[in-house]
Amino acid sequence: MSDVKSVTALGGKSFGGLVRVAEAPLQGMITVRGDLGLASVKEAATGLTKAEMPATGRIETGAEGAIAWMSPDELLVLCAYADAAPSVPKMEDTMAKDFASAADVSDARAMFRLEGALSREVLAKLSPADLSVEGCAVGQMRRTRLAQVPAAIWFTDDETASVICFRSVADYVFALLKTAAQPGSAVGLAPAG
């Protein structure tokens, strides 16, 4: 098993339309659950990523990754794919005395990137969330749904969005994004900025 090569759900498929939609390369993702006020939980998350602890509903980027606030007792730590599995036992050690846990979910999720001025519009077609510049500013983590499946969306700048969904629905989400980004299907919302 150990020499099985890791692959992303869709092998990095991409599509160019209103915006460029591409499956992101392998991304390390660790779910940390516990009381986010605990020093050990903070240490586990910030130690790996060198990012600050995110405030409610935010995502903070650091030198080695990012930390996203997912719920009052859950963080999603983004790191290099190769770092995720070895980091989990270290984080568990850091949090050993507390009621908290870490799990490597890298292979249970899929991630997409949208690049282009109409990124907000393309995503807004699929989600009930307010994805305007005011409603979902850069650095905010918005957990919502894309059509029928849960997704987490954040903007790294005004024209670039990242989307994380469950790996089992990666194909569905990619099809959704492709449809929403069909050339000629712009609905004329004001583009970002």
């Binding site: 409610t56 009052p72 009930p128 919502t144």
Partner: protein, 109 residues
Amino acid sequence: MLILQCPYCGVMADETELSPGGEAHLTREGPGASDDAFHDYLFMRENPKGVHFERWRHAYGCGKWFHAARCTTTLQVFGTYKAQTTEPPKDIRDRITKARPGWTWRDYA
């Protein structure tokens, strides 16, 4: 369309991002309860036309349960508050009184 603010993550969540959880502030009658009390807990709901208190879960978001006070006829939302609350908080009740003087719901007014 109903939009509720999740009191945990602050997100303005659309109805389709939420799961309905029925009436709020039920007393769960367990073993040892009288038949009447258990019957009322199982079957008797308010079903009001007007002010109502409900439980919702932010299913497509942070996953937390919370309470909402709203009007069933106009969909006006009076406020949302955390699940760790056994009765409607004072500030929410005051807000309802302002918008709907004379309202009642169970023993609250």
